[in-house]
């Protein structure tokens, strides 16, 4: 069997050492690996899933809820993303699937699929707007909001954890592209 270190390597790890452009008010950083589960089901099942996970999922559109390192993102009217930072995906998935045995729903482990980038700084929204057409003002995109959207040619999950901190969750194959896109954008702004 492959060791977990071989099975899971962050697509952004080469970016750490590659020379990033100099002084900018906005910083890019690689978010720690996390267990990620995509849940699809009706209200009754999502409430049961949230109760087991320890985070009450938002039923309001485009909002996420977080408790410690665990968070639940609203993706669609019957779709949520469960994320547990620095936890073992196999354990989290096992626990959730046992808890949801009696429910009609779907739960898929997608931990390997995407990597996270934090975009932080007073001009973070401006940097993201180089490739993302959403209105990222605090009024239209408040803290606690999350949504799938586009950045340049890539599709990603964008969330705002603080006024000046955005988290980007992007599929592995697009991750280097998005990193370089943001790096170039922050050197311009």
């Amino acid at each position: 069997m492959l060791s977990p270190a071989i099975m899971r390597s962050n697509a952004l790890s080469p970016m750490r050492s590659s020379g990033t452009t100099a002084a900018s008010a906005t910083t890019l950083s690689i978010l720690p690996d996390a267990a990620k589960l995509v849940f699809r089901g009706k209200t009754e099942a999502i409430e049961a899933a949230g109760a087991h996970f320890g985070v009450k999922p938002s039923l309001e559109a485009c909002r996420f809820a977080a408790v410690g390192g665990r968070s639940v993102y609203w993706l669609g009217p019957d779709e949520w993303l469960f994320q547990a930072v620095n936890e073992d995906p196999i354990e989290v998935f096992g626990g959730m699937s046992v808890a949801l045995q009696a429910q009609a729903c779907s739960l898929v482990d997608v931990s390997h699929r995407s990597d996270g980038i934090a975009v932080a700084g007073p001009t973070a929204a401006l940097v993201l707007n180089h490739g993302c057409p959403l209105d990222l003002s605090l009024k239209a995109f408040p803290v606690g909001m999350c949504t799938r959207t586009v950045l340049g040619k890539a599709s990603l999950l964008l969330s705002r954890s603080e006024e000046h901190v955005f988290h980007v969750d992007v599929w592995r194959s697009f991750a280097p592209y998005v990193w370089q896109f943001l790096d170039e954008a922050r050197s311009l702004s």
Binding site: A61, C62, G76, E79, L134, T149, V150
Partner: protein
């Protein structure tokens, strides 16, 4: 850029959406009883409306859901969007809703 009002997420930029063709085309209940011409008409023939057109859209880079939109093909103005399973409003119903 056009803003399209997703019934689930609210107004979003056009780049997040994918068009899904004409809406409200029901699959024939008993395809075996149809002639080849009737089946071909169901599969391929679509309205080419000048004016109000009801079509499907998918919020592909957003909530991922399909919904319907009533769009004026002469001005490209989307008059209304509504969820799957709903009918277009009476005043918006064209010759063929």
């Amino acid at each position: 850029m056009l803003l399209i009002n997703c019934p689930y997420c609210g107004p979003r930029p056009e780049a997040e959406f994918a068009n899904g063709g004409q809406a409200h085309i029901a699959r024939p209940a008993d395809p075996m009883s149809l002639t080849d011409d009737e089946w071909a008409a169901y599969l391929y023939m679509r309205d080419n409306t000048k004016g109000l057109h009801h079509e499907r859209w998918r919020h592909a880079n957003g909530c991922g859901r399909f919904f319907n939109a009533s769009r004026d093909t002469t001005t490209d103005v989307i008059k209304r969007t509504y969820r799957m399973g709903e009918r277009p409003e009476a005043e918006h119903q064209g010759a063929k809703p």
